[in-house]
Symmetry: D2
Subunit: 141 residues, 4 copies
């Protein structure tokens, strides 16, 4: 954080962002968070399956949505999701680890747009998502 | 099922649909399932919160997505979600129960469209969603 | 406007909303506009077809998006679309008239949510859409 | 087209894809089409404006949707859009040329997923879209 031009986020902001009970419940781990970007991963547990024995769309979405939350709150001002859409491409194996990457595509004073991809261990696309957030005037927490 | 005109779904189909580990993990309860329609509910537990202390978007989505799965699989042929989008309107209180209703808006041989709303105990709109499913040729499970 | 409880919108606001060059170019006609709601229609011209000889998705979307614009700007404060999603159900015949209805599902100080349906002359669902708008502080025009 | 490993599409397929009346009406020009990818552009005409004097969301969407159609039909089997969502980032100037790029992100036997971006002359993001198509068994036209 000595270089003001890097993408590092303030330590206290990072601490508050990742204090996310549902993300922790799902075993989501942070791989990397920087300004406007987050890479996180989750092991798909057997209890995250749907009736077909594949990962529940809600579990995969929760990972994508967490990546969106982590990336969009990285600036320290509270951002809340307005719209999120997801397209499911293929199921990941139960027991495998999936990775979500959220990248900022646009930022205005009041809104932010993030492109999110969820990939399997072998790099295949599990799901593609996009989220728009509303940036409030309050700080994170 | 003695009345061919009613919306009742076969008992064995219903049994398979609701045998959904993630939905059960989240404590999702079925209020009503009929052909092309599902009403389900979930108590928002403290561990379903995000870093802001409101329900995690992923938890609300998981409820909406489960309603979509239950409604779209009610015919007994396996339907998998292709695209789901959600708009968040307001947070529900932690500890309260939210209800998701999925209603079929269109059905073709290969696809189905469902409108989903998530409402609070006092009937306010928490989130509005829409999902498109691909109907496979295999039966549920 | 003598009854403050009705849904009538101010005449000058209405005039500005419908002065929409692209909507006029497409021959879009207003059936009804009230606060937070718009019903409009368009005859699908042969030049609105795609390479398959059915109405171009962009033409159907333009009708849905116009309904969103008319409904969301009815309050007199400028609203701009942030996110719009559409699901196509079936093609309308070329030469037929399609109708779009936008209904407000939620309104906050800064955002509005609208559910939109596009129907054929015989009442079948052509497309289902949803749009989120950002409400600016400036007035329409 | 002498190299079977390149991304070139058959001449007759290309000819049918671009014979799109609405795209032609809007003055859409093909910059590049290859298998699963299309880059097209459109000059935003004054008659494509909305009531606010900025490009109508329907005109920008029509460009994005045309890129989706061109990219997804490049294989020669007819693909129809199921779901398309768009996020608007900033208005392009009236009179300027906007470019849409559709890139295939996933392809299955029955569906295809395309990420689409619309950019301004100076490379800024005007809109970000994503579309899912259903691939029919018939050939284009």
């Amino acid at each position: 954080m000595t270089d003001p031009n890097n993408n590092a986020i303030a330590a206290d902001v990072l601490e508050r962002i990742i204090a996310d009970p549902f993300a922790q419940h799902l075993g989501i781990e942070v791989v990397e968070i920087s300004l406007g970007r987050a890479v996180i991963r989750m092991k798909v547990q057997p209890w995250m399956a749907n009736a077909m024995g594949t990962p529940h769309g809600g579990a995969i979405f929760a990972l994508a949505d967490s990546a969106l939350a982590f990336a969009s709150n990285s600036y320290g001002s509270k951002a809340v999701a307005l719209d999120v859409n997801i397209t499911y491409c293929r199921p990941a194996p139960i027991g495998s680890t999936v990775t979500a990457t959220a990248e900022q595509a646009n930022l205005t004073r009041r809104t932010g747009l993030y492109l999110i991809s969820v990939t399997s261990e072998d790099g295949k696309l599990i799901a593609s998502a996009r989220g728009t957030v509303f940036r409030t005037e309050s700080t994170v927490r």
